[in-house]
């Protein structure tokens, strides 16, 4: 049985797809058979970030509607060979994701994979509900600002009430907070909420803090999951997050301002 992880947030543009790409790649790099599903039917992005958009023939909705088999729709990643992508349909509506259809696909994937990562669309409508319904764990992607925190709180409430685990009365979905676009300088200037603020408000365990970085943007544009940028702070932060997701203890990094070098201290006073 696979472990099903939903990457969700409520709010759009906070880094769900970037996170889905990096977490699934990170799990696969460690040898776990992993599949990442794009639930954002109609606005698909994951294939771009995973650089496989030119290889999409069949998609998730085709499989649900019986127009293609899972094998025809799954795309094997070119960089990590234990990673597969199930792309979203660009031309359908989100209502094409029926509960029974999604369950059938997830059950089938469950037999072949160790981890199923579900990349949720923004919002709290049907697509997002389908993405989180079957989840065992949830990575709640949050930016350090008030409206993102509020939306994350909303999605946490939905995880507790509308997921399969909630409906069946099983153990609740395991929740993780992933703080993205974190900029310690702006926190110090009072322009952003701090890690402590967000943790205090949401009251769920912190999986990781991904620093705001040009590298994330560049990697996305090149179709490279940022976790593969192993020298970058953002890449390392995702690597840490994956390790923690698998139960390793790692100290949190990238949460305070970087120390300035000797010269910048000399010339900028400090």
């Amino acid at each position: 049985m696979a472990r099903i992880i939903v990457v969700t947030s409520g709010k759009g543009g906070v880094g769900k797809t970037t996170t889905s790409a990096s977490i699934s790649t990170g799990l696969a790099k460690r040898g776990h058979k992993t599949v990442v599903i794009d639930f954002d039917v109609g606005l698909r992005n994951l294939d771009l970030i995973m650089n496989c958009e030119r290889r999409v023939v069949y998609d998730f909705v085709n499989v649900i509607q019986g127009e293609a088999t899972l094998n025809q729709a799954l795309i094997r990643d070119k960089r990590v060979d234990t990673l597969y992508i199930l792309p979203a349909s660009q031309t359908r509506e989100k209502e094409a994701l029926t509960k029974e259809g999604v369950e059938k696909v997830i059950n089938e994937l469950s037999e072949r994979f160790d981890y199923i990562v579900c990349d949720s669309p923004a919002g709290i409508e049907h697509g997002a509900l389908m993405a989180l319904y079957y989840a065992d764990e949830a990575v709640v992607v949050t930016n350090p600002e008030v409206s993102s925190v509020r939306d994350s709180d909303r999605i946490l409430g939905i995880l507790q009430s509308k997921s399969r685990r909630a409906e069946m009365g099983q153990d609740p979905v395991k929740e993780h907070l992933l703080l993205t676009r974190y900029n310690p300088d702006r926190v110090n200037r009072g322009e952003m909420l701090s890690v402590a603020d967000v943790e205090e408000i949401l009251a769920i365990p912190l999986l990781g803090v991904i620093p705001e970085s040009q590298i994330v943007l560049n990697a996305s544009n090149q179709g490279l999951p940022v976790i593969l940028e192993e020298d970058s702070d953002a890449g390392q932060a995702y690597e840490d997050a994956v390790a923690r997701l698998l139960g390793e203890e790692r100290e949190h990094r990238f949460m305070s301002s970087q120390k300035k070098g000797f010269f910048s201290r000399m010339f900028k006073g400090g």
Binding site: I124, R150, D151, D153, R154, L156, G157, I158, Q160, S161, I201, A203
Partner: protein, 254 residues
């Protein structure tokens, strides 16, 4: 536009929702003679208390035959002791038809909490102080249990305690709402909306570890966040109703 909102026109009356505490007589069976002697006995314990009170007849525990229920006799007997029977609660269709025939109001049955009437005002009880064990009108009942929530109440969620208190051992987040017929206790920050005494209990209170609420209401009297900022904001407080005003006071460390 509703009629009451037309300015300059003074209507004869206005209908308002009212919530009144009343005495219920829980009837187990009916026998004219026994009814009167029991009533006389009860009244003799506190004569002032029962003078001109409204009374409802509760049929929820009635075990006698419906045909034995003579509401006209009940009304007449009560009237002799200056008690006004105004309606019945519960009962089956036959019993309710009889009650209607006697021009009594029909109240829905249900699990309303009834307190036993042994809390007769002090001045009244002194007269009957020599009776060793005060007779009880009803059998003992458990108070409505408090509803206890261990998880944070998240934005968009609503938690409702329809009968008793609500106790939340976690934060109540912005955009969440907690409601209770009784008191609301939040052993965490209260960031959302808290409504206590929603059935009109003006004695209900709101307690919280950190007042950061969007709205606090007691028995329909409310204050919004803006008006709460000046007093006790982000500290442990209790909020209660005094002379129709919400009063915030700090929770002193014992």
């Amino acid at each position: 536009m509703s009629e009451t909102a037309i300015p300059g026109v003074k209507h004869c009356f206005q209908l308002k929702s009212a919530s009144v505490s009343m005495t219920a007589l829980e009837l187990y069976f009916f026998d004219d003679g026994e009814f009167e002697s029991t009533l006389r006995d009860k009244i003799s314990q506190a004569p002032g208390f029962f003078k001109d009170i409204p009374l409802i007849i509760s049929l929820e525990k009635y075990e006698g035959l419906s045909s034995e229920l003579d509401f006209f006799k009940i009304i007449g007997t009560c009237r002799r002791y200056s008690i006004h029977v105004i309606g019945v609660r519960g009962g089956n269709d036959d019993q309710r038809r009889l009650a209607r025939g006697a021009s009594l109001a029909l109240l829905p049955g249900g699990n309303q909490r009834d307190r036993e009437i042994d809390t007769v005002p002090e001045a009244e009880t002194t007269g009957a102080a020599d009776s060793p064990t005060p007779a009880r009108v009803e059998s003992h009942r458990e108070p409505a249990p408090a509803k206890i929530i261990n998880q944070p109440v998240r934005s968009g969620q609503q938690v409702y305690a329809p009968a008793g208190d609500l106790i939340v051992l976690a934060p109540v987040q912005a955009g969440a709402e907690v409601l209770a017929a009784g008191n609301v206790h939040v052993y965490g920050p209260l960031r959302g909306r808290a409504l206590a005494g929603i059935h009109g209990s003006e004695h209900a209170r709101v307690f919280c570890q950190s007042l950061e609420a969007e709205l606090v209401s007691i028995a329909g009297h409310y204050k919004i966040s803006e008006d709460l900022q000046d007093n006790g904001w982000k500290t442990a407080v209790q909020i209660q109703l005094r002379d129709d005003l919400l009063v915030v006071t700090p929770l002193e460390k014992a």
